[in-house]
Subunit: 134 residues, 4 copies
């Protein structure tokens, strides 16, 4: 399993599986989002709280490579690390590994930015401090 600064263990729920008997492709975005938000909370950044303050963290681009499908009952671990993309853009490098065999299921790059109430790009101070994005 690659380097990461945060990980979260989860388990497939049957309602997340589709006609093909595997987790539907769109559900991985739910897993990835939940992992990012839990990571942000772990560094004291609350997504719902930011939203109330008028700061919108936005996803600008998502790239997902699907390697193997998760199935009903599978346990997995979702890991994350940060990558600087540009002064106003930050990248979450994310992967999901099945447990216990640690096979890679998907890997993803999620590029985000942040806008204020007037729709202007503005990174919250907390993020600048933590990620060193200046």
């Amino acid at each position: 399993m690659e380097d990461h600064i945060f990980k979260l263990e989860m388990k497939v729920r049957d309602y997340e599986c589709d006609l093909q008997g595997v987790v539907n492709n769109s559900v991985y975005q739910n897993y990835l989002e939940h992992t990012r938000h839990e990571y942000l909370k772990s560094i004291k950044i609350d997504f719902a709280d930011l939203t109330e303050r008028g700061i919108i963290l936005m996803v600008k681009r998502v790239e997902i490579d699907y390697q193997r499908p998760l199935k009903s009952g599978d346990k997995f671990v979702s890991v994350l690390r940060m990558e600087r993309i540009s002064p106003l853009r930050f990248g979450f490098v994310q992967s999901i590994y099945r447990l216990p065999d640690e096979k890679l299921m998907i890997k993803a790059l999620v590029i985000g930015t942040s806008v204020n109430k007037r729709g202007r790009p503005e990174l919250p101070e907390e993020l600048i401090k933590i990620w060193g994005l200046e």
Copy 2:
């Protein structure tokens, strides 16, 4: 609106919107998938039927660029065209435009392949014929 071979009009449903008051990022994958499946049906390829025959159309990679968010009540059109990626891979070039102003909301490239019951890559004849993928 760019060139396309298929289009589908839809409307945002409130349960698809999240805390930020906009359509959740993962929901666009639902829109994109529904568009692909409706397109496949329109050329007489039934996704559920293929699944029963043991042929699995699989998404290998998704790239989505988020330009503007859809909101509660928005109508939109989801358009699609095909692009050859490699002998065993086909690409769906997809975009979603808000209606009636036709502003681009997202654009996506979804790369798919097809495997048979033994997990081997095998494109169904129908697809080869239609897309000229040989």
Copy 3:
């Protein structure tokens, strides 16, 4: 098909189907909610707008009888009528029929109420006027 004051035609999307190859039970609540919100818009009540004004329409109770399952590709019509439950509670009597054979798929009773910013029950004037709930 029974008496109704509003109807909405929809079509099953493959991602709404689960391991059993039918629409997942929880998805019917999405269909029912979307029908209610579209009905409310049709009588000029905007759910997202009410939410912004601090008036929360809340579901207090849901009863759903599942008769037959919808499957991939099925078209259906979702119908609705109102029923007075009590001074502060209103009932949506809802059913979903498959098309074109009009077989009953589910029927439901959804009981709602409305609270203001202080969490107190308060029906918006529009609703009192329209539904004669006084």
Copy 4:
């Protein structure tokens, strides 16, 4: 917290919240289903496995009373007990309590039955043995 034979702790994920900032009503059905399936696995009944064997456990009726809404970040426990409804119907009596204050969020009665490949009611032996439904 009432009597129960099974409980499962979970946490709200932000994508489960809607425009109103609370968990969308339909999502509770996901929580309830996941709890039932995990309970069935805990007594060695695998829902996906039954489906493959042609035995379909079906929900016939759902009643949910919504007491208080779960919000972003809330932890909760979902509890379950069985109730005999009739020779061919079994009831899951389910509740969800917020943690750590154990306030009741929803309570539900989910009535199920079971059919075989020919669509006839047939309870799998495992269930008859475990639940004493004869």
